[in-house]
Every structure is written in C-alpha cells, then in structure tokens.
Chain length 248, copies 2
C-alpha cells in the first residue's frame, strides 16, 4: 500500500484543524480534499454513504480503509506512521490519559463551539432569529470546561503532561475559533491565566498558524458584519446543541 | 504493583455497566466501590478533586493512577491486562474502528439517554415539571443514531465487525436503560430489526444480565409509578442535554 493518506477536511472545522496540524507537525504524507461544508456537500446521501453516515469531517482514507472521528484518526496515525510518543502517548497510562481527554473534549469543551457557531454563523444560514438559547448552551459548556483546563495547567505545562500532545491540539483549535469570533471577552480570559498563557504559547507554533488562517479571516469578516453565503441545511450533530425542529 | 484495580461505579449508569461487563467477561481482577449517584456523592468537591473534576463515573484506580471516561478505561484495561483482541481491537484498524465508535457513541447514541433520564428520573429529583424539550432532544439523538447502527448491522454481526467488542457493550447498555424505562415502543423497534436482534443476542450473555439487574428493577418501579428518592442537584453533563438554569 502507498504511504500517502487522503485527508478530507475543512479549515473552519476545529477537529479538522487539530488533525491537520498533527499531520504537519509530524510529517505524515497526505493529500488533502476540501469538503464544502459551507454548502452542505457533507450532508448529501452520497457523501454519507461513501464516507461517514454522520456527515462529519475530518475523514481519513488509507487505501481501502476509511476512518472518521478526529480522536480515532489521531490514534490511528500514531500507530500507522509511528509518530513520536508525545503526540498520542509514550506508554499505556499516557495513551489512556490522552484518550480520557479526547472524550472529555467531545462532550464538554467541544460543545462550547456552539457559542461561536450560533453567534457568528447561524445568521448566515437561517437568517436573523433568536439564537440566545443555543449561545447560552455553548457558553455554559465553555464555563464548565475552562476551570477544569485551568486546574490541569496548574500542575503541568500541557493538558496531559509536560509535553505537547494531540489533546492540546484538540483543545487549542476550539479556542482558535473563539478567538476568531471574539467569543471570550478579556475579563473572562483573565480568570484563566494559565489557560491563556498555554493558548498563546501554542499560537506561536508555525503549524498552528498554517492551519488557522482561513478561520481567522472568516471570523474577521463576520465581526465586521459581512455575511457569508452558506446553504448547509442542518445544524451540527455535535460541538453545538442540536435542536430538533430548527428550520431546514 | 498489585494486579487488582478499584472500580468506582453505579449500576444505573450505562457506561459503568459497559466497563463492569467488560471486566467480568475478561476476568479483570477488581474491587468495586459503589458511588452514590442518587444522592450526588459524585458531585461533592471532595469527590471531584480526588477522582474526576466532571464528577462522572466510571472511574478506575490502578495504584497511583486514576482514570475516568469509559472508553479510555476500556483501552487501558486492554493494554494493562492484555485482554483478548476482540474487545478493543486485534490490529490498528480494528482499534481505530472501535475508537471511532466510542466517539460516535459519546456524541450521538449516548445523548439519547436523555429520553430515559427525563422520562423516568427527572421528576424524582425536581418534581413534576414539563420535561418535554429534554425528552424530545433525547429522542432526537436516538432517532439520529439508530438508523446508523442498523446500517452497520446489515453488513456485520456486531457494531465493529463479526466479533463482540467493547463498542457493543457501550451501545448495548444504552438500550438496556431504554428497555428498563420502556422508552422505545415496539413499532419503533420494528423499524430496526437487525439492531433489535443484536440487542436480544447480547441480552443472553450471563455477564450482561449480571450487571443489569438493578436498572431493570428501578425501571420497573418507575413504570409502576413509584417515586425513587434522589437528591442529586445537577443534571448530567453528557448523555443528556445539559440545560443551564435547571433548578438546583
């Protein structure tokens, strides 16, 4: 089999950027395919049947093997390309700690993305409506998650230890989106000085900047009040509060 | 180090039962500690500081190593006790497939638990109120998840292949709770015959029955209209729709 994998993604997606950065940091050979999330390419039956029944990205294709879920992709890449142990764990305890984080992430910090999505994007899709309940839910998940990150960062320099790991990339790219959307005000950040310092350290990594350009541009456009044409019909199945009955 | 681990759990928790069954199926040596979820023992600051800042179970303690998140515990046990490969994967693709499922699970099927929780338990905690929005959210997540399981079970006998894996246990115990609460009516089940057959096959396993007795009893009590005294103050941070501002 060839050693080049195919990476289906979109740079506005936080989990996509985390995997993308992991591959750039470690030199995984890949070809990229941008999936047009903005117009719901990922929501077509063809896409769901071929790649992922949930319609989510990122997706990795390695020969006849197709894999989705960013955390599963990270672990797979670590085995497949024997990535340096810091990224997905050097021993079973560290691997478990990073997996623990990835699940905490999916159900806590990741769902804070609703604060960004419903503040900055929902209007582009469904027009001006009252999104305050969805935004409140996202802010609630952020408020539940950030003190936990802060506590961890009191004891160590990164989320799962004193080396950077894939857990840091997953978390970091949530905050990149919040930064792009100016979602977390400075007085809120002031309550989490270690998390802020960690975030700013990670921002300095060239590969972090390499994958974050588009979301920062899109965020700046939205903050300036420009609309972005988007026709995707459904809300996100995770990361944001799915709301039954939101207009299609 | 000793080979006996400590397992903190509660038998009404679906992820706890999945880990419990895994340990019984594979003969992992463990001592159990029941955490009194009903009265919110897991929500005390002492518990959160000692074990898990999210207050969730299951938790595994192995000497000086404390781990939470059921999927991370499963993977850790597989390495720690060299469990048979079917449970967490025989090769890197199978391991990745099971991890993929565990993340799909956390963000999709697991959140269907709200249908059970808000139908059968919420009233015991907060009294009679209108929980229809929370129940609708749980049912929505179930309705999104079940067709995907059905499709997978068209191609193979278990969720991640033709052998039972930890993915099956995670999913199975969600349906055990729905069964206990009579949440999924028979005409709904009729649309998912392969999933139903898979569920009934798994029900036959002695270790499945061994860990499910209490939830079936509690479910029967609630279906008969008996109240169960519960004083836990917060909603669940996952598996159900967290609602900011629900009365404490």
């Amino acid at each position: 089999m060839t050693d080049t994998v195919t990476f289906l993604h979109h740079p506005t997606s936080q989990p996509c950027r985390a995997v993308h950065q992991l591959m750039l940091e470690t030199g995984v050979p890949f070809e990229e395919v941008i999936v047009n999330l903005m117009d719901g390419e990922n929501e077509t039956e063809e896409f769901k049947t071929t790649y992922n029944p949930t319609g989510q990205v990122p997706i990795l294709v390695d020969g006849d093997f197709t894999l989705w879920e960013s955390a599963a992709i990270g672990s797979y890449l670590a085995e497949r390309f024997e990535l340096p142990g810091n990224w997905l764990g050097r021993d079973m305890r560290q691997r478990a700690r990073i997996q623990q984080y990835s699940h905490f992430h999916s159900t806590m910090l990741r769902r804070g993305a609703g604060a960004f999505f419903y503040t900055r994007f929902a209007e582009c899709i469904w027009g001006p409506r009252d999104y305050s309940a969805e935004i409140a839910m996202g802010r609630y998940m952020l408020a539940e998650s950030m003190p936990i990150l802060e506590t961890w960062l009191e004891a160590r320099s990164h989320l799962c230890g004193d080396e950077i790991s894939f857990a840091d990339l997953l978390a970091f790219h949530e905050f990149v989106s919040h930064e792009a959307g100016a979602i977390i005000p400075s007085d809120e950040w002031a309550r989490f000085p270690r998390t802020r310092a960690w975030f700013e350290r990670l921002q300095q990594r060239p590969q972090a900047r390499a994958v974050s350009g588009m979301i920062m541009e899109v965020g700046a456009m939205r903050r300036a009040g420009h609309m972005i044409p988007m026709t995707r019909r459904t809300s996100l199945a995770k990361g944001t509060a799915v709301k039954p009955g939101l207009p299609g």
